[in-house]
Symmetry: C2
Subunit: 426 residues, 2 copies
């Protein structure tokens, strides 16, 4: 029977889950995949944590060089997160002839061009299913199932923390700050929630997924990014009245005018399959020219689901003797030939407050029409404070810059104030 | 650049789609996958059809031996359907050293044990993503992404025709026969709809998917099968009132007592992700011990989505030099050690008609309790005809045989008649 030795760098949440899965399923993998997978080494400075997980004392190490020179180790699992020291460790492992499996989206998004080159040079495997959307098999699907398609669009709820927060805000009507605190208490959000709530995490993942989908490097720096910190419960309620659900959406499109990539709060029509993706569930909705629409749904984070993705990569690596790499030019920057669409098209939700008197709506719509923005739905409430009333508009498809100009114009003229505007997907 | 020649056996719906995708994307595959894929030959007796698709006259052939001896052909795509002559053609191709990509669920389900052995002996590839759920990448996901999990359950809406019929019955209230005729007119159902409406098609697919999920051969003959022909609009309406949607579900479970595999109409709680899978969309909901729940959703049939799955397999085959086969014993019959659970557990929807007088419900529930069946929801209508009224019950989880016995008992005692009972998933 084939024997494969694994080293795990970092026994945090995902590392711990991976260790647990590998050890508990050892006989199962021998029987069903014909391979004996043994955790030969773990890199963990917190010895106590490793011992509590059941790691044999002799296998705990705190020196990556030791792992690189260990002939029993074939595959190195990097689950440390962040750029350094993870990057140096991964490069050292690849240069020692080990294959690498990583869940590190920041590292992979920022340095795949460097790392992949080293893997290729050494003829070893580089696997990264766990970088995106936890246990949901989106990387493998793009690489090995939908690769015959020209992918025209992908839309994803790919950050568990923000989806949990938005679901709770929508269900309970609690304000953002309160739900965030609760999420932190429950372990759904980290103490420093910046990467999640400001959309960095989703942008890293979108960079990886859109590069694979569109067969060209999409650096995360090209991604328009807007987080959920300014989301107001009122918007969620008004959107719901008009048949929409609010999600932090990562959107990638490849059309005639070029590629557009963006992460921002988005209203989705409640009948859309993505609208029902709640709590810490995640999903990616992919449209290809042959396959039409495919949605992949599941747990986007967590020790065991992300561990499942890592172990899937380990078994794949162990049972496939040769390795494939990006077929596009995996460079640091985008190919100069790639056109990015910044002034993208979308429908918009616009919430205004205005004096509660006749003619205001007419003034607003007339001003919007100056920028070729037409309105598909209106909801004029009369529950405003101090003589003002909220007006909610949903526009037809228009251009981002037109909306920005119209908003500035409305605010300048003073008869109404745009409190918020949110992009809409129907 | 690597060159790969393909032969397509049968230019029907899926064969035509495959031809179209391969020819229209030729440059795309050269650029993005580094492989030049050429359709070298098509086996099609209807020359006119082939010519209309744009096949060069010199490439149309009606003799499989010619394809087998053609050195330009590396991969043979079998999209004829049915057992013979598809089986002989596939075996001839494998024995000539060609890899085979097939969409033929009946052939693969009934003869994978024979065919795979021949592929293995010849060291060629055998790919079958397109046998199950059209463009939805469920086979690849089970083989290469979730393979580290013990899959405990899978539930699928895996037949487009029946899902279309049930969706329309639910939306329009039209009776089964009428919707079937309409589906046949629109091309969603074949003239002979037996394989679809009686659940054979779903059972073939479930046999393949559950064998992969549970790492042991599950012959389709072990699958409990019940079609949708006896579904009554009244049941759909009553179920809806209680919060359920009716679907033809393929269910596979692997638990402590053994494996259960069944295809039958099922009420699903309307909040379940599968409940929103409508029309000809399909989905598979998989639960694994690490990944928790994953759902794969998309077009379960059609020329282009199924063609997408075939082309995905072709590119995979062309870009991976070695081939993997079933890691379990792929035999004709089930392993004698496999236990099949026939008396499975489920909740049930029971519709009775009874005389519209006091005490009947008490009698029914008391009789049910004799078989340890307790009731979770009741809906007693008073719109029955001729002094009878329908009673709708949803039971707690109980056993299939208990329900069968209770139904026989109720019908024998004569104070009420069980009009229908349907299994329920919450």
């Amino acid at each position: 029977m084939k024997k494969v030795g694994v080293a795990i760098l970092g026994l945090g949440v995902v590392g711990g889950g991976t260790y647990k899965i590998l050890t508990e399923h050892k006989e199962f993998y021998k029987k069903n995949h014909g391979v004996e997978i043994t955790v030969e080494s773990v890199l963990e400075t917190n010895r106590q944590r490793a011992l509590e997980l059941g790691v044999d004392e002799s296998k705990i190490c705190n020196n990556v060089a030791e792992i690189c020179s260990n002939p029993e180790v074939d595959i190195v699992v990097e689950v440390i997160g962040g750029v350094e020291p993870a990057k140096s460790f991964v490069i050292a492992a690849l240069n020692s002839g080990k294959s690498v499996v990583t869940s590190n989206k920041e590292l992979f998004c920022k340095y795949s061009h460097e790392i992949e080159k080293i893997a290729k040079k050494n003829g070893v495997g580089l696997f990264y299913e766990a970088t995106c959307v936890g246990g949901v098999p989106v990387i493998r699907t793009l690489l090995d199932s939908l690769q015959g398609n020209k992918i025209t669009s992908m839309m994803g709820i790919i950050n568990g923390t923000t989806n949990y927060i938005l679901t709770k805000m929508s269900e309970c009507g609690s304000p953002y700050g309160e739900v965030l605190k609760e999420a932190q208490k429950l372990g759904y959000a980290e103490a420093d929630s910046t990467a999640d709530v400001e959309g960095y995490d989703a942008a890293y993942k979108l960079s990886i997924l859109s590069s694979l989908s569109f067969h060209t490097k999409i650096p995360y720096t090209e991604i328009y990014r807007e987080g959920i910190k300014d989301i107001n419960n009122a918007d969620i309620v008004y959107g719901k009245q008009l048949g929409y659900v609010l999600k932090l959406l990562a959107i990638g499109k490849n059309g005639e005018n070029g590629i557009e990539v963006r992460v921002h709060p988005t209203f989705i029509k409640s009948s859309h399959p993505l609208a029902g993706v709640n709590d810490s569930y995640n999903a990616v909705y992919i449209t290809g020219d042959s396959v039409e629409d495919v949605m992949l749904y599941g747990r986007g984070a967590g020790a065991m689901p992300t561990g499942s993705a890592i172990v899937g990569d380990i078994i794949y690596c162990a049972t496939h003797p040769t390795h494939n790499y990006s077929t596009f030019k995996n460079t640091e920057k985008a190919d100069p030939a790639t056109k990015f669409v910044k002034n993208f098209e979308s429908a918009y939700y616009i919430r205004l407050s205005a004096e509660d008197k006749a003619g205001v709506l007419a003034k607003v719509t007339s001003l919007l029409s100056k920028y070729s923005i037409s309105v598909s739905q209106v909801n004029q409430e009369n529950c405003g404070t101090a003589g003002t009333a909220p007006i909610i508009l949903i526009t037809h498809i228009t251009k981002e810059n037109n909306v920005k100009k119209a908003v500035a114009d409305i605010n300048a003229t003073g008869f109404a104030k745009v409190e918020n505007y949110i992009r809409v997907v129907s």
